[in-house]
Symmetry: C2
Subunit: 327 residues, 2 copies
């Protein structure tokens, strides 16, 4: 069997996850890791070839799918439309509000060059989107709720670290139990994001810094914290390193609907409990890379999302096997 | 907008569910209910035309999708291959072991007549299958567990009712909490079906019947009960009617996988808590009927399963709307 030749563009946490998880996909091989850094200085965990992103054009015919592992803020919106001219791509672009624009930009490049690009894969957007979509198509009379956490929010952690006197910080987003319970009970509550989530912060300060001022600055920070129940714990550097080094995350999608004249309650719930957010995201991207490869072989060019792709496309098993083993 | 013309074949609990839930689908209309009984005697809940199944051929050009609502034991294996000659069909055939054979039979009929038939829709097979499939495609290193219940098993209830001296009976399948907890904790236990589920029976006996004998016959019944922890409660006819008249069901699919060198645990869980099994099943079939209609318009003929169908096909929303609202 000829293997699908996959490459990684961007060697951050997700890129490392792809490098580790792709070894489990017997129908794929990792052929290169592209980086903006000096390849000679990049320490990687496998024997994969490390190549400067400057040379990526030379790999046009040597890579079937490029897994784009840059960040959503600045990397992906620029990189993916460029790469989609040369490669089939998969990305985990997750800035919800800008997804339609990202789709259009990538679609144009990919269509013009007979490439297939799957955008916004991962778990949210990604698997959570799937559940929201299937639930809404099936239960027309219902409400969908998404809760995130318990997990680390990189953006909120960064915001705390920018405060004067803060040496290190991490922020956990935590679903409010009562809100989750009400939704699970089919009560269909109206909930703002602040009524669904708590924010818990662990902060290491510089010697002599004013903890009261820092706590106040955090709790009153607009957009990030002011609309939330926020708790701040000041801890030592040692405790920080020992207990807050995991990139765990997760969450729930709950759809609560009604059927029949007796208003029967029907509750659909999907949850993820992830020890490693980037490794799980990488696992989704790898399955989507397989789909991108198959779609391109079938001349399905342009940008796609997980909504446009038959589930079987993600699997290495045949339709017969899937019907027999998993239906 | 022209509406999708849907008909029901078989007016049991699922048929009644389709009749009630289809009113929520603004892009569809219910044009007829086909029955084997005398149409004049069928009491239905809407103003839909009731037609004898004998006359179904005359409706060939008046129905876009036929929702097959008969039973899996004897109705669907015979009826669907016949109906797929004249109509696009959707069914909820759920005898897992015979699905490959059912697929082949329906596929032959549908292909020959340019029809599209979606088989084995519902929640298991159906939504549970989807989660099993996506999970296995994404987490290659992992185990999938399916738990059913708490819910009514029609087959087990029937088996009890066949025992001499039993007037009425219902059987609930209940997941064993410790097993669910172990799976959720990522312990990857080896579990037989009997180690995953309890069986709880509520039985009304004829006057003078020997309860000890009946309890013993239930608990030792091969296949149905002998391999399970089974409890039997004898109750009065009144209590039976008051407390055991719901067709509630549900269950979980849990996939427990590992990633990375540190063996990070990643837990995917999907659950349903349904007040009405037939009304929820009907809701899934209606969304699949929409997909069958679209697939047929796109000349995608033959038998399909939920694995073969892009999720967006189930929705009445456009791809643009889906990306904007639900991705």
């Amino acid at each position: 069997m000829e293997k699908i030749r996959v490459a990684i563009c961007g060697y951050g946490n997700v890129g490392k996850g792809v490098e580790s998880e792709i070894t489990k996909a017997k129908d794929m091989e990792l052929v290169a890791i592209f980086t903006r850094r000096n390849p000679a200085n990049l320490k990687i965990s496998s024997n994969t070839k490390v190549v400067s992103i400057q040379e990526i054009e030379n790999w046009k015919d040597k890579v079937d799918v490029m897994i784009m592992c840059g960040g959503s803020a600045t990397d992906l919106p620029k990189q993916v439309p460029e790469m989609a001219k040369m490669f089939n791509t998969v990305d985990s672009f997750d800035t919800h509000a800008v997804i339609p624009e990202h789709f259009e930009n990538v679609n144009k490049s990919a269509l013009k060059n007979n490439r297939t690009s799957i955008i916004s894969g991962g778990w949210d957007p990604g698997l959570f989107s799937l559940i929201r979509m299937y639930s809404n198509a099936i239960m027309l009379d219902g409400n969908t709720y998404t809760f995130w956490g318990r997990g680390v929010s990189q953006g909120h952690s960064d915001a705390i670290r920018r405060i004067e006197g803060v040496k290190n910080a991490i922020q956990y987003t935590i679903p409010i139990e009562k809100a989750v319970d009400d939704v699970r009970a089919g009560k269909n509550p109206q909930l703002s994001t602040g009524e669904k989530h708590l924010r818990e912060c662990f902060v290491v300060v510089e010697g002599g810094a004013d903890k009261n001022r820092i706590e106040n600055e955090i709790k009153t920070m607009p957009n990030y914290f002011s609309d939330y129940q926020t708790t701040v714990h000041f801890i030592s550097e040692e405790e920080f390193k020992a207990n807050h080094n995991k990139m765990s995350h997760g969450g729930f999608v709950i759809h609560s609907g009604n059927t029949g004249k007796e208003n029967n309650k029907e509750i659909i719930e999907f949850s993820l409990k992830l020890d490693s957010n980037p490794e799980f995201t990488a696992s989704v991207l790898i399955a989507l890379a397989r789909a991108a490869y198959k779609l391109n072989k079938a001349k399905q060019y342009g940008a796609k999302t997980i909504f446009d792709i038959a589930p079987s496309m993600l699997s290495s098993k045949s339709s017969e096997e899937l019907r027999k083993e998993l239906l």
